[in-house]
């Protein structure tokens, strides 16, 4: 029994990596994940990854921010301490718009980013789960779970055929741990 946990196909060209994905898919080999130094457009469709739902979260946070500040202003200027400014109405909606807008933007920004960090498990000090150190530099890495996907030589050959410059058989899932 081989001790290989993950097979990594390292490509130096994003298009060759995409060919590699196609080839693996044609041979019914499931892909664990793909690590790239830059976003690859069109890869989500290829891997069958659903659209991000972050936009919905952003919208909700925006509504929340706008509502909160509008309520604060309403409470302060209309309910708690109405002022007589030249006999004009205390509930002067046009004057409320700039701040409502600002907090809509503020909450959208912070809410979107917080949701992104939460969903992706990003936070300060998190140990990076890196499979190959060059995946943030100049290698486009296809990772394949070695368990159950045999024979490993076939996978290696497929990756090589697609143009992988290197194929790694890693005994550890992540190389970034001390």
């Amino acid at each position: 029994m081989s001790s290989t946990k993950f097979i990594l196909g390292l490509f130096e060209d994003p298009d060759e990596m995409m060919d590699g994905i196609t080839l693996l898919q044609q041979n019914s080999i499931p892909i664990y994940d793909v690590y790239t130094p830059m976003p690859i457009h069109g890869i989500e469709a290829k891997l069958g990854i659903k659209d991000s739902r972050l936009g919905y979260a952003s919208f909700m946070f925006g509504c929340l921010g706008g509502t909160i500040i509008f309520s604060i202003i309403y409470y302060a200027l209309v309910h708690d301490w109405p002022m007589n400014i030249g006999g004009k109405p205390a509930f002067s909606v046009p004057d409320f718009i700039p701040l409502t807008f600002e907090w809509t933007v503020l909450y959208t920004a912070f809410g979107t980013v917080a949701t992104f960090f939460f969903a992706t498990h990003l936070f300060p000090g998190r140990t990076a789960r890196v499979m190959d150190l060059r995946a943030t530099n100049d290698r486009f890495v296809i990772a394949i779970d070695a368990k159950g996907n045999t024979p490993h030589e076939d996978i290696t050959n497929l990756l090589k055929e697609a143009g992988a410059v290197e194929v790694k058989h890693n005994d550890r899932k992540y190389v970034s741990y001390e």
């Binding site: 972050l54 700039p98 600002e102 933007v105 998190r126 890196v130 499979m131």
Partner: protein, 490 residues
Amino acid sequence: MSSHHESIIREPLITGDNITYAKITEDILAPVERMPGRAWWIGFTVASLGATLWLFAVSYTFWYGIGSWGLNKTIGWAWDITGFVWWVGIGHAGTLISAILLLFRQKWRNSINRSAEAMTIFAVICAASYIVAHMGRPWMALYSLPVPNQYGSLWVNFNSPLIWDVFAISTYFSVSLVFWYTGLLPDIATIRDRAEGLRRRVYSVMSFGWTGSVKTWQRFETVSLILAGISTPLVLSVHSIVSMDFATSLEPGWHTTIFPPYFVAGAIFSGFAMVQTLLLVTRKVMGLENYITMFHIEAMNKIIILTGSIVMVAYSTEFFIAYYSQVEYEQYAFLNRYFGPYWWASWSMFCCNCVIPQVLWFKKVRRSIPATWVLSIIINIGMWFERFVIIVTSLHRDFLPSSWAMFYPTWIDISVFIGSIGVFFTCFLLFIRVLPAIAIAEVKLILKGSSEQEKKKILADGHTDPAQAEFYKDALRKFDSIEIAEYEKV
């Protein structure tokens, strides 16, 4: 897909031969990964001396009070608010580049957005410091926030543009910071994975555990797009609100409806000038000529001439409307502005912002690095004068001639201003030492489509329309980073 080739007639965004993904990383991270050179140390020494001056002058202000400035009871706002508006304006170009150009899919933004956004953040820090300094007692800043208090609660006046400004500037700063830092994550991860020891640990904490998996990138791009979408109206709102600090008053010279668009155009104008000031030097000193090319410089110069012309139209419109309004105070304010005791400030403003930048209509000037740099300094000076003119010349003579006065800056006023420039450059110089000055991942994204080497291959294949190929080769002549002789044989 990344292999999508764009039309040959578009100028390349990355020049040079043998640019690989690894080389992009090496080139951009070189200043971060090696010891700084002499140019950096000289710059840093001068800048930090300036920052020290700022620290001293602001401390002096807090110790002795606002009386140490040249303000008087007629001119209650002078160099401080001038400096505030000037810095906020400078910040606007960063957001324009990072947000608006992203929405317009302008790929050339990819190599300048990072440093422009950093510039935004440092400029807004400088701007905010003026507001806090002007409070004299900085802890009073608390009362600009709607916090419950023992006076009732007595709330802030939410109808006042000054309070809108507190919200607008703080939102602008924090949203810009979040946008900038999120964009930095993949690049910090790149540094992390190349570093060793303590350095690796520090960058590891800062990288938030970035891996670059498919889902991460997908969400990252969604976040970028959403943040760009909301930053675009935000940046327009910020300077509009800053302008309302003036426009909603009854002061002749301030009380005009043209202010919001006029201020926004001026902000972008001065911001791009500051981007040129910084990047022309950065590109040279850090050897980034292949990424920040002549195309970028010329494109920014085109934006400068456009926004500069909008500003000129705004000046003229203001002048005309003052006449047309038949309000004698308004008319006097504008005649006094250009022909009164502050004529030199107004004409400096008009020359620096409207007359001199017209030379940018000439290709030769747009493509000359020394000329662009000198112009960018002139525009920075001109835009400082614009704010000075709007604020001080309007205030110094209004309705009551018995209250007319002049403003004379004290050495503290001058030190705070010069010091704030020192703070700005100290921050910027530290930034280019510890973080990549160009968004590495975003530049890699355009390597396969928009680089000179790819386009050269297309030319070598010979399937292009000869007229288009000729047009392309001709366009390459302006680049200082391309050896045009190589193209004679292709």
